[in-house]
């Protein structure tokens, strides 16, 4: 059974000796597609866009991951969304691009603990070791497209579209409990 959608307010999904999964606080999200003068985009938002797929960059109040050759996802604090949007919008005449605020589209799970990697491996075909600390990838988790950020060896964030979130929360909960049962 899937978790009810209303349960995906910031809360702990599961907390075992193997791994802890929680729903994060709401954060601003912007999807950006751009080609050409990327330095101008970097200047506008205050952090240089990383250009290798999977790499990230961070500055005060903003975090960027390169998801594709011309695609980035921007995480910004809620009170900064407007500022970043205005900065990008000012570039439209000189650098046509696509900027879409998608704050409400996704929720983020934090996944951490000694067996966080094992937990992700139950439903990710990609080798988790291929994602280095400080990097992020769009990939697959239990059939749904997600963006996986690796913050430390055993600490991850997973951005999930809302409609998949209750289902994936259930997968993560089941997995964390099974891994903990093996420890016991």
């Amino acid at each position: 059974m899937s978790k009810h959608i209303s349960s995906l307010a910031p809360s702990v999904v599961v907390d075992t000796a193997a791994a802890r999964v929680a729903v994060s606080q709401l954060i601003g999200r912007i999807s950006l597609r751009a080609r050409g003068d990327l330095a101008a985009v970097g200047n506008a938002i205050g952090v240089a866009l990383p250009t290798k797929i999977g790499t990230c960059a961070k500055a005060d109040g903003i975090e960027v991951a390169c998801l594709g050759p011309d695609e980035w996802t921007l995480l910004v604090s809620l009170n900064q969304i407007e500022k970043v949007e205005d900065a990008l919008a000012a570039l439209y005449p000189s650098l046509p691009h696509s900027m879409t605020e998608v704050t409400g589209r996704e929720v983020t799970f934090t996944i951490e603990g000694p067996q966080a990697v094992d937990l992700l491996s139950i439903a990710t075909p990609r080798d988790i070791a291929s994602i280095k600390v400080g990097e992020a990838r769009r990939t697959l988790f239990d059939g749904a497209t997600v963006v996986l950020w690796r913050d430390a060896e055993t600490s991850f964030r997973m951005d999930v579209w809302n409609s998949f979130a209750p289902f994936l929360a259930t997968t993560l909960e089941t997995g964390a409990k099974e891994l903990a049962a093996e420890l016991a």
């Binding site: 797929i53 999977g54 998801l67 695609e71 075909p125 291929s130 769009r138 990939t139 497209t145």
Partner: protein, 100 residues
């Protein structure tokens, strides 16, 4: 599971992240209205259906999202090469020679 090299990501990844997208290097006629019904039907529907090395499109759907091209053997599933969309069609004889 088949492992596929994405020419955009520069990584070799499980097939599950990718979607097959049909035969590659099929060009849409520049002025469709000047095509005969036979020519248009051929563009829309007729494919090589190769048994052996096949030029085909793939998309890194659960990844960078990009379409790219590949040469895959339809009997063995071996990928000889993958390359970015828009790049010229590689010479098959050379590919097969390099693969020996």
């Amino acid at each position: 599971m088949i492992q596929i090299h994405c020419p955009y990501c520069g990584e070799t990844l499980p097939e599950l992240e990718f979607a097959y997208a049909g035969e590659a290097h099929i060009e849409r006629p520049l002025s469709p209205s000047e095509q005969s019904d036979e020519q248009w039907a051929e563009f829309l529907f007729l494919r090589e259906n190769v048994k052996g090395p096949h030029f085909e499109r793939w998309r890194h759907l659960h990844g960078c999202g990009r379409f790219f091209n590949a040469v895959r053997n339809t009997i063995t599933d071996r990928f000889y090469i993958t390359y970015k969309a828009g790049e010229p069609r590689p010479d098959l004889a050379t590919l097969l020679e390099e693969d020996k």
